[in-house]
Subunit: 278 residues, 2 copies
């Protein structure tokens, strides 16, 4: 088996097993399964404490392929914008402490009561530009994650790779994109935009899961690789041809299915499907 | 009250009241509310019979702003493709008999078992090109309706105005787009693509409803204008600036709310919200 097919290049986003394990339990579970890369969420880190989490990462030689998440920049007033900025600085600090490959940015949607999508997008671009110097100073690359257009209102108003890369182009060094197949698989410009990102070394993460038919919930019904309709191998090829050969990170929110199964079974299925479908 | 604010330019897509009324009942309901434009679905026409439906339309002087729907071109074998083509010819016949402004095309998603999105999109482009001469010969403009990316797998793999207009550009005369705010409001290229469509006279329909936060169902949880986050007036302005001054057509699929209310209340609410929010 080639290295590219083994679990060396597989990471588990800990949202995938958030109902089964806390941070320490998830790390143990991954290690037992032969997985040495993870991407935790900030609430998982907060529960155990940042220094404890960093110690567990270091002592076990885990790679942290990303910290989820910074972002949520838009707000309806100056106090809200300031609060978001402060929180994002803390997220950078945490990513640095964990030695994360990047801080994933879910940029945020419309402020309460707003219908101004273009204005909200400007707020996001400004928020990112303001945060970037602090991230650079702390050695933490920022990874803008374009989210599926069905989240434009309430989670992220950056909804295509093209849009994210336009922001990166304005910002310069220290920023790129997290490409999650769930969010971008439908994009008619996918091939061109992946190539564009790769040409500038802006692919910082590659998240995988699958799009189920039917999808029963907008947020919590993601599929395991192979159970849906995304051509994962094709997207992986595009990403590799664009020059990114880093980990594929499994990120599955699945309230009625995978979150209800034993963590060990989830991880062994991730490994199987990674080998056969990714 | 200016003409642009009155119901002269309001159309009701009959899916909006499909649980309350059959075709004849819906026409009566619209007339009673002072609405003289409708857009029926083919199953509604089939139930009453095409000639009966056409007689009702004509005798009441109703404008038919579109027939929903043709499309669903992709198939996994030649027989399926032929069947889709035959059905689309019938849809053109029905649109012609009703004097509809256009036949709305919901182009279809991945064939059963397929993950080949680029190939499916080619199938759609071919299907449209094959149908177009028949539509032209019958005087029925085809209106490609780009659907929200969350329907890319199972309903329509044409997911942006840009994509639809690229198909139109290849096809030439007799084809344009139906712009439904629900499907396109998130699009970062919205302004430019509406202008592009208008410059060539390719805006054939303008559908309205709203995007609810939260959205509880991918298909059947559309909102009444004003209850969600879409900046309807802004999009209307873009469409008018692009040269389209035709009807705004209300199309709301709402299983747990509007489909449960009396048809008269739904229509009076449509009129109120059209006047205040659109």
């Amino acid at each position: 088996m080639s290295a590219a097919c083994d679990t060396d290049n597989l990471s588990i986003n800990l949202a995938t097993v958030r109902e089964q394990w806390d941070f320490a339990g998830a790390v143990d579970g991954c290690l037992a399964a032969g997985i040495h890369a993870i991407s935790p969420w900030r609430d998982q880190i907060e529960k155990i404490g940042l220094s404890n989490a960093a110690r567990i990462v270091e002592s076990n030689g885990m790679r942290v392929t990303g910290l989820c998440r910074g972002g949520m920049f838009p707000a309806s007033d100056a106090a809200g914008l300031k609060s978001a900025y402060d929180d994002n600085r803390r997220a950078v600090d945490e990513a640095a402490a964990l030695g994360a490959d990047c801080l994933v940015l879910v940029v945020g949607g419309l402020p309460e009561g707003s219908r101004d999508l273009p204005g909200t997008r400007e707020m996001v671009a400004e928020g990112i530009a303001t945060l970037l110097p602090y991230a650079r100073a702390n050695g933490v690359p920022l990874a803008i994650e374009p989210l599926h257009p069905m989240y434009a209102a309430d989670r992220a108003c950056v909804n295509t790779l093209s849009q994210a890369l336009d922001i990166c182009d304005v910002c310069g060094e220290g920023i790129g994109v997290a490409i999650d197949v769930y969010h971008v698989w439908w994009d008619p410009e996918l091939d061109a935009q992946i190539a564009r990102a790769g040409a500038k070394g802006q692919i910082l993460a590659h998240h995988i899961c699958d799009w189920l038919v039917p999808t029963r919930d907008l947020l919590l019904d993601r599929g395991m690789m192979g159970d849906g309709v995304i051509d994962l191998k094709r997207i992986r090829r595009l990403i590799e041809e664009a020059g990114y050969h880093g980990p594929q990170e499994v990120e599955i929110f699945s309230q009625s299915n995978w979150w209800k199964k034993p963590g060990e079974l989830v991880l062994s299925t991730c490994i199987d499907r990674y080998r056969t479908h990714c």
